[in-house]
Subunit: 256 residues, 2 copies
DNA sequence: CAGTGGTCTAGACCACGCT
DNA sequence: GCGTGGTCTAGACCACTGG
């Protein structure tokens, strides 16, 4: 027969549609194993390459995963909730113990185990950070880089940038968990009274995907929080990379 | 030579890395055309299939686009801002003309042209909607489906679900723009005083990708807003699908 | 060791955009 | 009509997983 007609109702699309349908209507549930490539090729009477193309598309859509030797399975994503509107609020600080940080509390409340890998450095700020922090781009800033883990699975990357003079000699320069009544910035004399959050959605860079151990077809939210003092000065820029398969971001808003 | 060594430093990864680097350091800027597949195959001394694999990965990462006959070009994404915290706030309603709706205003302020295609229907609610709206899953609800366009480009899908008894006989049953001082729900006697927003990040379903004319490798934010009355009753569930290449979601938060 | 997915080649034809 | 990407086959070997 030779090569088939192409484009619109292409063979690989047909194969992908069949499998997608099986997943949508529950024939194939989360965790189930897909038939092997060879079997699918036989079933639909196409070459193995065509089956692989269909499966590659489904993988890019985030529906299935593959691993060598083990086969392909339907993904099972049940993200945890991250309440960005109460996170770091002063009300929340008041009702919480001063000993544990906000992040750990948020996760522990959902019955999971939280952990952070922390690293502190003095760096030249990325251009976006310099602009938002209102410092010259050639002026070093302090960055606290955290990899947050839940039950030993990477969950978020969260990098906080501070003007150097603000945090020099404070506990924020130490690469470990810090917590204080009312929040650490308030504790060192610079309470944040207002935030601006910007949320972008994109595919991860290669380095991010590796650090977070992301499967193919997993997008991330890039959540930027700029914290301001009462006089309008920017105190901190926090950039959180939150994989879509592990995070739901929540805001509770008053319709004032 | 035959088939090469595989996996870690695979050939297609090498090719992809080279091109990625050229994009990162500006050798290839947004809008620039990539060399043809054949030329890349020759340059890196691999088969065309291997080049295609590398380019497919870059496409899935959202870095490049392709179209038949025209070649591949580096993507240029400059998203518009959507301020979800002031959107629909009563303060915002007060300062706005009662004649135009919030969405159009938000876009017009950024110097662009907004448009909506609206459709109203009576449907059985999706399970999530039924739960959030606190109605039985077999009880019909009213849905207002909107496709929002900016300069004729699809920008968001926004579907609002209402309990039927709430909107029967009101302007909300009509498939056209509605606006009223203080917001339409307030106008018909059910002001929203509080919202809960949930933001999920995922790859689009096939139908969504087609409706929004998304390029491969474009993730979406699924933004669910549940509006509550003063007595705690849920009045409305709005589900917005916002493509990552066209949207930045913003929240302004008081650190009360 | 058998079975699965991962990588790669060589070669063919089709559909589209542009000139 | 030429050049581009899109689809497809047939066949080969490699690497990992699990019994």
């Amino acid at each position: 027969m030779g090569p088939k007609a192409a484009t619109a109702g292409s063979l690989h699309e047909h194969v992908a549609d069949q499998i997608r349908r099986a997943i949508d209507n529950g024939e194939l549930g989360p965790g189930d194993r897909l038939p092997a490539e060879g079997e699918l090729a036989a079933r639909y009477e196409v070459s193995r390459h065509t089956v692989r193309r269909a499966l590659a598309d489904l993988t890019a859509e985030g529906l299935v995963t593959s691993s060598r030797g083990r086969g392909r399975i339907v993904r099972d994503d049940r993200p945890l909730v991250w309440n960005a509107s109460t996170f770091e609020s002063r009300a929340r600080h008041r009702e919480m113990s001063a000993e544990v940080d906000q992040w750990s509390t948020c996760i522990t409340e959902q019955g999971r185990r939280a952990e952070q890998e922390i690293e502190v450095a003095l760096v030249l700020p990325p251009v976006d950070v310099a602009r938002n922090l209102d410092v010259p781009p050639d002026r070093s800033v302090v960055v606290r880089r955290r990899l947050r883990l839940v039950d030993d699975v990477p969950y978020q990357i969260a990098d906080s940038y501070f003007p150097e003079e603000l945090v020099r000699g404070t506990p924020l320069m130490e690469p470990r968990d810090v917590a204080a009544p009312g929040g650490v910035l308030a504790y060192i004399g610079h309470p944040q009274v207002r935030y601006r959050d910007e949320i972008r959605v994109r595919m991860p860079a290669k380095a991010e995907a590796e650090r977070l151990e992301l499967l193919a077809g997993t997008p991330v939210a890039e959540h930027t929080r700029i914290g301001y003092a009462a006089d309008g000065r920017a105190l901190r820029v926090m950039i959180t990379i939150a994989p879509g398969d592990r995070n739901v971001v929540v805001y509770e808003v008053d319709a004032r």
